[in-house]
């Protein structure tokens, strides 16, 4: 008898669309955000400036404030609508159950996942669809998106939405959070890409087609 392979629909069509729409939209938001940030680049860590001048000149980010604002206040609608649709859909479809950590032990498990990924542990903790580190990261990134939208609107209309600006620590503090979240996305992006490369083609394929073949038992980690 021929061996059978089990194929699963891992990522639902709508989820894949939300994910892949978000990618270029977030890219344009970050890029246009940098065009805006250039006009008042107030932040630094110790002596290290965000960003050194060569960054602006290399990526041609300087003297483009008006263009940046026009782009930012256009793509903000795609970002917010796509993000809201994603969150609503994860609840309607029930996918949220795999994405949201279900207990505090997720943090302990996530630590083990990190140790495993660094080669310090031999075994992964038991997991459902996503491991604990993924659950925490994917939930956090959604909360970060909500944070970007809230602080974004606080900066966008600090008088009409004065309560929102107050809620986010005031106009300038909201700007700092908004910027920090953006740096957070860039860090997430680096780790995310590294993990996707590590997980290999089969995993990437599932984010494109939705389907993933069940791996042979000995290669269960993605």
């Amino acid at each position: 008898m021929a061996a059978t392979t089990t194929i699963r629909l891992k990522h639902l069509l709508a989820i894949r669309w939300f994910h892949w729409i978000n990618f270029p939209v977030l890219f344009v938001m970050i890029w246009s955000g940098l065009l805006i940030y250039w006009a008042y680049d107030a932040y630094h860590i110790g002596p290290f400036q965000f960003f050194p001048n060569w960054v602006y000149s290399t990526f041609k980010l300087d003297h483009r404030l008006a263009e940046g604002m026009a782009l930012h206040f256009w793509f903000m609608w795609f970002f917010v609508l796509n993000g809201a649709a994603y969150v609503i859909y994860t609840f309607i479809s029930g996918e949220w159950r795999f994405l949201v950590p279900r207990s505090w032990s997720a943090f302990r498990d996530a630590w083990h996942v990190v140790r495993y990924d660094l080669g310090l542990d031999k075994q992964l903790p038991a997991q459902e669809k996503y491991n604990a580190a993924q659950q925490i990261t994917y939930s956090a990134i959604v909360l970060m998106g909500v944070g970007s939208a809230i602080t974004g609107f606080a900066i966008y209309k600090p008088i009409q939405l004065a309560w929102l600006a107050a809620l986010t620590g005031g106009y300038q503090f909201a700007r700092l959070i908004h910027f920090s979240l953006t740096i957070g996305y860039l860090l997430f992006f680096i780790v995310h890409i590294a993990q996707v490369i590590r997980a290999g083609w089969r995993n990437f394929q599932s984010m494109i087609s939705g389907y993933e073949a069940e791996p042979p038992a000995e290669a269960a980690h993605e």
Partner: protein, 257 residues
């Protein structure tokens, strides 16, 4: 609600490979077409003829944003006010239209309330005779910085009540410019009549300095700094959307906060 573990198909090994191949190819084709459409759409928008240095479809988006913001704008939505001790240095950031020294005695405010109306020529004393308001509010530059300043002057709504012909319909816009028309702003009437919009002649308790727009400037906390025109020479009430210096440089015309 489906469990992802139950969304499963069991196929013989060789069929499974074909199945995955088929769906992967199909998805890549759809994704590729979507990417081409998205990039094409983006490039189309960005290459359209510009209206004031911004492609016209993006101007439409700014207009839509303006419609929402203007609809939400309300006299009861006030800029937060601060204490005297919160006042900080205000960088004089723009000097367009401030080239010449101004002689306050010969300076006049030219006011045109309508196409048919005869123009008014007002002195600083005329403006000062209106009820005086002092407010300590945040000044927000479109560049991103902000600072807290105390302003003293006459509410533009009081000014309008005195000088705009009673019984006449207020037009939707106001235009203001420096004496030589070097700098100019267009304002929607709702923002202009906001209770914190001032024709201002004192800053931090002292008469306005030249670099801050002596003898009379606009303070409009519901707008970015670019709309807070310095050294006003003329005010026109108008039915058509007025020109605006920075809007012509690609910025949003409304520039509301």
């Amino acid at each position: 609600m489906s469990n992802w573990r139950d969304r499963q198909i069991d196929l013989p090994e060789n069929e499974a490979r074909g199945f995955l191949k088929k769906y992967t190819r199909r998805s890549f084709l759809v994704a590729g077409a979507a990417a081409v459409a998205a990039v094409g759409g983006y490039e189309w928008v960005r290459s359209r003829p510009e209206e004031n240095m911004t492609p016209w479809p993006q101007r439409r988006v700014l207009s839509l944003n303006e419609k929402i913001a203007h609809g939400y704008l309300n006299d009861k939505h006030l800029a937060p006010t601060y204490k005297r001790t919160d006042i900080r240095f205000l960088k004089p950031n723009g000097d367009i239209g401030l080239d010449d020294d101004v002689d306050i005695d010969s300076w006049r405010l030219h006011v045109q309330t309508g196409a048919g109306a005869s123009p008014l020529q007002l002195t600083l004393a005329d403006v000062k005779s209106l009820p005086q308001t002092t407010q300590i509010v945040k000044f927000c530059c479109i560049e991103g910085w902000s600072t807290i300043v105390e302003w003293t002057g006459a509410r533009f709504s009081d000014f309008t009540r005195r000088y705009f012909p009673p019984g006449q319909q207020l037009p939707p816009y106001v235009y203001m410019e420096t004496p030589e028309s070097d700098y100019y702003v267009g304002l929607d009437m709702k923002s202009a009549l906001h209770p914190q919009t001032l024709l201002c002649y004192e800053m931090n308790g002292k008469p306005l300095e030249d670099e801050h727009g002596a003898p009379l400037r606009l303070v409009i906390p519901v707008k970015y700094g670019i709309k807070n025109i310095k050294r006003i020479g003329a005010i026109r009430y108008t039915d058509t959307r007025p020109a605006d210096y920075w809007a012509e440089q690609g910025y949003d015309w409304f520039a509301g906060l």
